[in-house]
Every structure is written in C-alpha cells, then in structure tokens.
C-alpha cells in the first residue's frame, strides 16, 4: 500500500483534532441541533482560536489573553461601580505534601471583585482559612471557579507552583487525566 494512502486515511481520522479542540455547537451534546440558534450563535472555535492557547479548559490562557490585549472585556456596566485591583501574593499550603501555592491577588482581581470571595468564601487573613482539596474538588472554596469556569483542577502544578525549602520542585505542567469512563453518558 502506498504511503500516501495511509497518510490520507490517518488525516481523515485525525481531522477533528486538526480542526482545533472546540466542538461545533450542533455537535457539542447540549445544544439542540434543530434549534434555530445553531447557525446564528458564534462558534467557540471562531472566537477562541485567536487567543493564547492552553492545554485544558477552554484551551485559552485567559489571563494572558487579557494582559496581551487580545481581549478587552468590560469591567463595569454601571459608571459608579468602583473597579478594585489588588496586587499581593499569599503563600498557602505551607505544610502539606504538595508544593506550596502562591496565590496571586493581581490576576484574580483583573477578573473578580474582592466581594466575590471575601468574606463568605475566604476570610481576608493569611492562615485563617482551612483549605482542603476534597472541598475544592467538590466545588467549594477555589473549586467554585476552578473546575467549572477558570482553569480546571487537573492542572495541579499551576497552583502548587512553589517548592518548600528542601522540598520537591513542582513539576512543570503535568495534568492528571480523568479516565474516559468517569464521564457520564450524555
């Protein structure tokens, strides 16, 4: 069999991958393919393929996209809303087995207001919050956003990013794989 036939066959099989990681709305499993919205709504790939790529979630580095000016999302609707930015890092997980977490307020306040987290999710005092991965994986604490909208919880070392003194260095970016069987049938 000539090589070009094998290459063509593999190209065909891999076409969805080569076309980008975003499903068409009609094929995404939640939109009704018969809905009149299908040909009118913007396709994810049309918008997201132009932004800084990532390997998880929306496959977009949202903070980088914002900082580079690829997107310029509005920060308020009402003119009297105070836009609050805060630049301070907090070190978390000082005693756990994983590398420490350097939590950056700056990137979070680019998107969020202080009141989104304080004080109902986190007390505004270093060390005052008992954080737990079990709660986070269950959609609480950081898991309110991470694992739902902001980068997913499979990206361990994006948060656990700082070695303890004498401890293991965080691995660059090794996502854990969620086995295919764990995904519920649509």
């Amino acid at each position: 069999m000539p090589t070009w036939i094998i290459v063509a066959a593999l190209l065909l099989v891999n076409a969805p991958v080569l076309a980008g990681p975003w499903d068409k709305l009609r094929e995404d499993g939640v939109h009704d393919p018969r809905s009149p919205a299908i040909n009118r709504l913007q396709e994810p790939g049309d918008a997201l393929s132009k932004l800084t790529p990532d390997s998880a979630g929306n496959m977009v580095r949202w903070v980088q996209s914002l900082e580079k000016g690829e997107i310029n999302p509005r920060a308020n609707l009402r003119p009297d809303t105070k836009i609050r930015l805060y630049d301070s890092d907090v070190m978390l997980n000082l005693n756990g087995g994983m590398p420490m977490v350097k939590f950056p307020h700056r990137q979070h306040t680019l998107w969020l207001d202080c009141a989104n987290c304080h004080d109902h999710l986190f007390k505004a005092e270093a060390g005052a919050n008992k954080l737990s991965m079990l709660a986070i994986l269950n959609g609480e604490q950081c898991g309110v956003c991470h694992g739902a909208v902001s980068f997913p919880l499979t990206e361990c070392f994006r948060c656990h990013n700082t070695a303890k003194p004498g401890g293991k260095p965080p691995r660059p970016s090794l996502p854990i794989a969620i086995p295919a069987g764990a995904v519920p049938p649509k």
């Binding site: 939640v30 920060a75 308020n76 609707l77 998107w111 989104n116 269950n138 739902a148 499979t154 995904v183």
Partner: protein, 136 residues
C-alpha cells in the same frame, strides 16, 4: 511500505499516536464552563437556556455579572425567570435590545436539548462525581 524516507516515517508514527490518544475527541462535549439552566424550561415547553461563559468573558470580566449584577456562583441557583429578565434583572441588564439582543429572541438562549439537566457542563464535579451531582 515504510521504506520511503525518515520524514514520512516520522509523520506516520506521529499521526498514528495522535489517533490512539485523541480518538475520544469525537465524543460530544459542551464547551468548558457552559451552563445549562433548566429550572423551568422543560415544564414550560421551552428548550433549556444555555449560558456560554467563554462568549461572555471575552466581552465582560466576571465581576460585571457576579458582583455588579449579583449572579451567585451556582448553576441554576439564581432563580432567574423571564419576569425578572424583562424587568432588567440578571440577563436583562444587558439583554434588553441595547447592549445585547432582547427577550423576543427566545430561541437564541433557549437552544439546549430538551431534558438536559441544570449544571455546569464539563466541570470537574460533573466528571468526578456525576451521581452526587444528581442527588443535590
């Protein structure tokens, strides 16, 4: 058949690997962060509403809706209904025909498959504990 050139052989191996590892990409999946809201839609004979986070965050920071407009971080937890939207609350703050399309474009938001449950699709909780999610 593998005797052509090193480049061809490398290409074949790379594509075969991609086939093996990425074959489940065909499976239908909502975009990460898509929220399906089906509190009242099915009962009202409408398709469930789909809120695409990716589309909105290109244009608005999270704080616009989650601080200024008071959306709770909970899929289906805001008790949104069309009366409130027409009154300018929640989605109606923008979807009023000025900033974004207005309420008479029912089908543009109500575009989900009938029977799709309220939840953040592709979320970690949905993947790791789908049964627990249904009990809630």
């Amino acid at each position: 058949m593998f005797g052509k050139s090193a480049v061809q052989r490398l290409l074949l191996v790379a594509m075969a690997l991609a086939t093996v590892f990425l074959v489940d990409i065909d499976e239908a999946r909502a975009e990460y962060g898509d929220v399906v809201i089906n509190n009242y839609s099915d009962a009202a004979g409408m398709r469930p509403a789909i809120f695409p986070h990716w589309f909105h965050r290109v244009r608005f920071r999270c704080k616009v809706c989650h601080a200024d407009l008071g959306f709770k971080f909970k899929a289906g937890g805001n008790e949104i209904n069309m009366v409130k939207i027409i009154d300018g609350q929640f989605c109606g703050a923008c979807h009023n025909g000025e900033l974004a399309w207005s309420v008479e474009n029912c089908n543009l938001c109500h575009s989900g498959k009938p029977g799709t449950p309220t939840q953040v699709h592709e979320s970690t909780v949905q993947k790791l504990a789908p049964a627990a999610l249904q009990k809630k």
